[in-house]
């Protein structure tokens, strides 16, 4: 409401200034819109000398440190550490999002302001960077700064360190129980139903959606009565162009695929640096699921139809975005 008042004032001001009389009649009016337009929390910073902002940052950092080392912070039952995610993990991923991949986010308004929703996205890129970028996209671009809770493969939770970070960043195992629990709690859940088939597909198959598992995500969304938001990610396919797959080595290491890219494993650790492609993340029109009867989640025909509908929508959006794309890197 404050904004609605501010805009006419700002527009009026230049027109009335020449009349002179009006300006003097309402001297406090011009500064007011300025203060209102700037977020109120910046107000003390603007008034204090230049050192104050720095001081506040140090104070904030120290109080953060104090809470962390005394253990006085909260995690939810999935192990999601909101404070750590907001203050540390997000800040680590943000440069990658803003500067490196220069992600363009479209259709963020398709994500509901509140309540549960299931975001279904395509999966690609050899390493699941697309999931992490999706998380940053939702948090930084959504007006309500919503947190995306990703469903990750069991491999993530088998690896030391990775599982710990994944849980703290709010990810959990891709299983119906966890997904339903999160959706019923009103969380935003992200799933990539292609799984390893999508992320580990050869470069030649890029932007060809793989099979969507058994479509379990649809029945979960139906049971929870939450909308499904299809999401298409363009750009992630080219970060590690996978030209080969050392299957024997993968089997030996117990991983689903062992990627061979033009630079990896040829250049060793340098080969693990992703190519700086330009990304686009497009959220599509939500598909409502609350109109179905309670037993609809048990209907395989309906499940297949809805799965296909979601899949088609993502695939079409992918093709459209690819046509619009000028180049892979710009």
């Amino acid at each position: 409401m404050a904004d609605a008042k501010v805009i006419p004032f700002g527009e009026d001001r230049p027109r009335r200034r020449p009349s002179g009389r009006r300006v003097r009649a309402a001297p406090p009016a011009p500064p007011e819109p300025v203060v209102e337009a700037v977020p109120p929390l910046l107000e003390p910073v603007a008034q204090k000398p230049a050192g104050a902002g720095w001081e506040r940052k140090v104070a904030g950092g120290l109080s953060f440190l104090r809470r962390r080392i005394t253990g006085e912070y909260e995690v939810d039952e999935f192990g999601y550490d909101k404070e750590l995610t907001d203050q540390v993990l997000m800040s680590l991923m943000r440069p990658l999002f803003d500067k490196y991949f220069r992600v363009e986010v479209k259709g963020i308004e398709n994500i509901p302001k509140e309540g549960g929703a299931l975001i279904v996205a395509n999966h690609s890129g050899t390493l699941p960077l697309d999931g992490l970028m999706l998380q940053v996209a939702v948090h930084d671009h959504h007006p309500a700064q919503r947190h995306l809770r990703l469903l990750a493969a069991d491999l993530v939770f088998m690896l030391p360190v990775v599982n710990e970070l994944a849980r703290k960043a709010g990810h959990t195992l891709a299983c119906a129980e966890d997904a339903q629990r999160l959706l019923e709690a009103g969380e935003l859940v992200g799933v990539m139903p292609e799984g390893f088939k999508g992320i580990g597909k050869p470069f030649g198959d890029r932007y060809k959606l793989q099979r969507f598992g058994r479509g379990g995500f649809v029945s979960t969304a139906l049971r929870a009565g939450t909308p499904i938001v299809p999401c298409s990610i363009v750009g992630a396919e080219e970060i590690y162009p996978m030209v080969g797959n050392a299957k024997t080595l993968a089997r030996l290491l117990g991983i689903p695929y062992f990627p061979i890219t033009p630079t990896f494993p040829l250049l060793g650790p340098f080969g693990a640096v992703p190519l700086p492609t330009k990304w686009t993340i497009q959220f599509g029109e939500p598909i409502a699921t609350d109109g179905y009867a309670a037993e609809a989640a048990e209907d395989p025909m309906l499940m297949f139809n809805l799965t296909d509908q979601v899949r088609e929508q993502i695939q079409h959006t992918l093709y459209r975005l690819l046509v619009q794309r000028r180049s892979v890197f710009f």
């Binding site: 440190l65 104090r66 080392i69 253990g71 203050q87 939770f157 129980e177």
Partner: protein, 360 residues
């Protein structure tokens, strides 16, 4: 009709407290405390019968006293006292339960059976859902140790419930029990000055306070209140979750992250010197953690724990004294740094900083 309650495992700390507590209930007429060893603590007016539940003598005790409620607490992770060999513990857990259930089946007077179990029956692997409900099937059955005992005990109890549908059977799956008097393996673990942890894992833990354990056992041993049902299987845990890293920081005990094989090895060394019972079961808990849902406990059993997981842990931490790096001292050190820099770090609102960060 007055109630005669038989409590097994009365020589354990928890059993003893439960025996003393339940005597005060007006509807309880007599309490028969049973264990294989004499209790080191008082049992009040309860009648102590020294008998081994692994022997059929327990049937005679049930008949002699016309017991109508059996509270089976002799399902434990470690032997009475320290250094109980696991084979003995296992026998008491499994054979003891079989004997006790056999005796109950023969007894015409028994109306109610309460069994203490553990959430460790769910196991815990990386492929399990984050939160276990009462109906979750474990992905892999526990290979050994207490978890396997508890799973087997529950199996026998289910068989008993089928054979005697007239007996109300309540199985309570407790999360890790902590409190000022806790003598469990986990309590011992939290008392090690430098706690070995598994490198790269930060398990989610849930605790239930001893006082809440006593309350819920009492609730289960009684006639159900209106609108509640106290037969069935229930998860019992305090609200909320603590990570192991949080626990160590709140205790002020530094951790020593070790690779998983090294932790198993360190555990066997610690067990050999008798410092703590660091079993493979324990290592599994400290790797993958375990969180259970407690909706059934609230809505069906009608029990609200007084202590949350964090409060339970705080109560436990107070009773243990501080570790090498007490949180107060660490916090003071940070405040001192803040004082030197002439900034006040203690009361800055985080949300402001978060919002500021996001705006940029």
């Amino acid at each position: 009709m007055g109630k005669v309650v038989l409590v097994t495992g009365a020589s354990r700390q928890l059993g003893g407290r439960f025996v003393r507590r339940i005597q005060r209930d007006p509807e309880v007429e007599r309490v028969i405390a049973v264990d294989a060893v004499a209790p080191p603590h008082r049992l009040g007016s309860a009648e102590f019968v020294r008998t081994d539940i692994r022997q059929s003598a327990i049937a005679r005790v049930l008949a002699e006293h016309a017991v109508d409620t059996v509270v089976h607490l002799a399902v434990t992770g470690s032997g009475a006292g320290t250094g109980g060999a696991h084979s003995t513990v296992k026998e008491t857990n499994v054979i003891g339960t079989m004997q006790l259930l056999g005796a109950c089946q023969k007894s015409p007077t028994v109306r109610r059976l309460v069994v203490k179990s553990s959430t460790s029956v769910y196991g815990g692997t990386s492929r399990d859902p984050a939160v276990f409900t009462e109906t979750t099937e474990p992905k892999s059955l526990p290979a050994g140790g207490f978890a396997k005992d508890a799973a087997e005990v529950e199996g026998y109890v289910r068989g008993f419930a089928r054979r005697r549908p007239d007996v109300a059977v309540c199985v309570l799956r407790f999360a890790n029990i902590l409190g000022p008097f806790a003598d469990s393996a986990l309590a011992e673990y939290f008392s090690i000055p430098v706690m070995p942890t598994v490198l790269g894992y930060d398990p989610r833990l849930q605790f239930v306070h001893e006082d809440d354990v006593l309350d819920v056992l009492r609730l289960a041993a009684r006639e159900p209140r209106r609108g509640t049902l106290n037969s069935g299987t229930f998860n019992i845990a305090g609200d909320g979750v603590l990570l192991l890293s949080q626990c160590s920081r709140r205790l002020g005990r530094p951790t020593l992250p070790l690779l998983l094989p090294a932790v198993t090895w360190a555990g066997s060394v610690l067990r050999a010197v008798g410092v703590t019972d660091f079993s493979p079961e324990q290592v599994r808990l400290l790797t993958h953690g375990r969180v259970v849902e407690t909706t059934q406990m609230r809505e069906v059993l009608g029990f609200e724990p007084v202590y949350t997981t964090a409060e339970t842990f705080a109560d436990f931490a107070r009773s243990r004294g501080s570790g090498l790096l007490p949180p107060e001292r660490v916090a003071r050190a940070v405040d001192r740094v803040a004082g030197m820099l002439n900034v006040d770090g203690s009361d800055v609102d985080v949300d402001v900083d978060v919002a500021e960060g996001a705006k940029r």
